[in-house]
């Protein structure tokens, strides 16, 4: 489903929990994608640099800290500075319902919350990257 797609799974900011990011990374791999994982507590600039070097088709930001709006904006700014303003960005994590629209207006191609199934998440990634 995601054959030959390269996806960066990244943990920006200060929250120290990555089970969610790892579950998604494994599910993307099982759907055929090549997944690059950054490890915990990375800056938006660091994530953007990796996205460029790895020539990924999408960046998935996993955020549980509550700073999702600011971190999405900063990641987009860093990508724009590096000439990749068109990069597809997904956001996932503990996102309050009222923030989903804000994130989409802020440039998130999709927002994944903890009440969604893995299958639906992967299907949506696949339909956006098709």
């Amino acid at each position: 489903m995601l054959k030959n797609k390269r996806i960066l799974v990244a943990k920006p900011g200060l929250d120290g929990h990555d089970s969610g990011a790892k579950v998604i990374a494994l599910a993307l791999r099982d759907a055929g994608a090549d997944v690059i994982y950054t490890g915990l507590r990375k800056t938006p600039d660091f994530i953007a640099r990796i996205a460029i070097d790895e020539d990924v088709d999408a960046v998935g930001l996993s955020i549980l800290s509550g700073s999702h709006v600011a971190l999405l904006q900063q990641t987009r700014d860093s990508l724009r500075e590096m000439g990749a303003e068109d990069m597809v960005i997904f956001v996932g994590g503990t996102i309050p319902p009222q923030d989903v629209e804000t994130l989409k207006q802020g440039g998130a191609a999709a927002v994944f919350t903890s009440d969604m199934t893995i299958e639906d998440t992967i299907d949506e990634v696949a339909s956006i990257l098709k």
Binding site: R29, G32, D34, V35, Y37, G39, I50, D55, M82, A84
Partner: protein
């Protein structure tokens, strides 16, 4: 370096079919880039060693690239590429380019189209190319064809492993590196390796140095880098470059042929595998001859 251009060039080649590879130019690229291969069992510290080595050797006048290969899942075809986790400090280094690569259908420690991927980096005038293999066992030593210098990374308390590796990957190394040398057993393993090294390496007349290192605190990085420089200068005087070029071409040809046969087997009609072994073999080789 133009990172985006390098990155996109690599993606195009990574995904190229056999026909697409054959359609690209194989004009030899004049490049003096030194190819350093890093191999060893899973968990010995290949990625951590590369993180230290690249930081130590890269300069504005000597930019380098790292290609880090991890296995593709034989079930889904996907991969989880985790070498980056140990290379965090390199991300902001303007003189180092890092790319994670999935092994795809290649299972010799390297990945599909590796000779052509290296050519992409050479055409961007990088001075050194570090290749990290998949974590390997005893017999995956295809790296010897693609790298100028093969560094085998080991750790203490792997004495029995070394015994069993004597006839395989150990013989292919130009430098034997003992990482995590703060662990007990480091002296013993170094002594065993020195014994193996005294019999000589894969190139006649070269005796692989045994280097001790601890990648977590960077102890021994100078010895490793010096050993690489010594190997480079020795090879410049003693190596048969014509022979190396032929071995590389042979690997390239063989990898493409194997993938073509894979493609033909995939395309073969259902029921094909129920024919006799002889018939099947003849049918596939005949199809090979029909290909343009």
């Amino acid at each position: 370096m133009n990172r985006r251009q390098i990155a996109r060039g690599l993606t195009k080649i990574l995904n190229a079919s056999v026909d697409e590879i054959l359609a690209t130019s194989d004009e030899p690229i004049t490049s003096n880039a030194v190819r350093i291969g890093i191999t060893g069992a899973p968990g010995v510290g290949k990625s951590s060693t590369i993180a230290r080595l690249a930081a130590y050797r890269a300069k504005p006048t000597k930019q380098l690239a790292v290609l880090a290969i991890d296995p593709s899942s034989p079930l889904s075809g996907g991969s989880l590429l985790g070498d980056r986790i140990r290379m965090g400090d390199l991300v902001e280094n303007p003189d180092v380019y890092i790319r994670s690569l999935p092994s795809r259908s290649t299972n010799n420690g390297l990945c599909n189209n590796i000779p052509e991927l290296i050519n992409v980096l050479e055409s961007h005038r990088l001075s050194e190319i570090i290749l990290e293999t998949v974590g390997v066992g005893q017999a995956e030593y295809a790296i010897r064809n693609q790298a100028d210098i093969v560094i085998l990374v080991m750790q203490p308390e792997s004495g029995d492993t070394i015994q069993s590796m004597k006839a395989g990957v150990v013989e292919m190394a130009d430098i034997l590196l003992v990482n995590k040398d703060d662990l007990t057993g480091a002296d013993k393993v170094c002594a065993e390796l020195a014994e193996i090294a005294a019999r000589g390496g894969r190139l006649e007349g070269w005796f692989p140095p045994v280097v001790r290192m601890c990648a977590t605190n960077n102890k021994g990085i100078k010895s490793l880098s010096d050993a690489i420089d010594q190997t480079i200068s020795w090879q410049a005087k003693h190596r048969d470059n014509e022979l190396i070029a032929q071995q590389r071409r042979r690997y390239q040809l063989q990898s493409l042929l194997e993938r073509r046969i894979d493609e033909l087997l995939d395309e073969a009609a259902p029921g094909f595998l129920s024919t006799s072994l002889n018939e099947g073999f003849r049918a596939i080789t005949a199809r090979c001859l029909l290909e343009p």
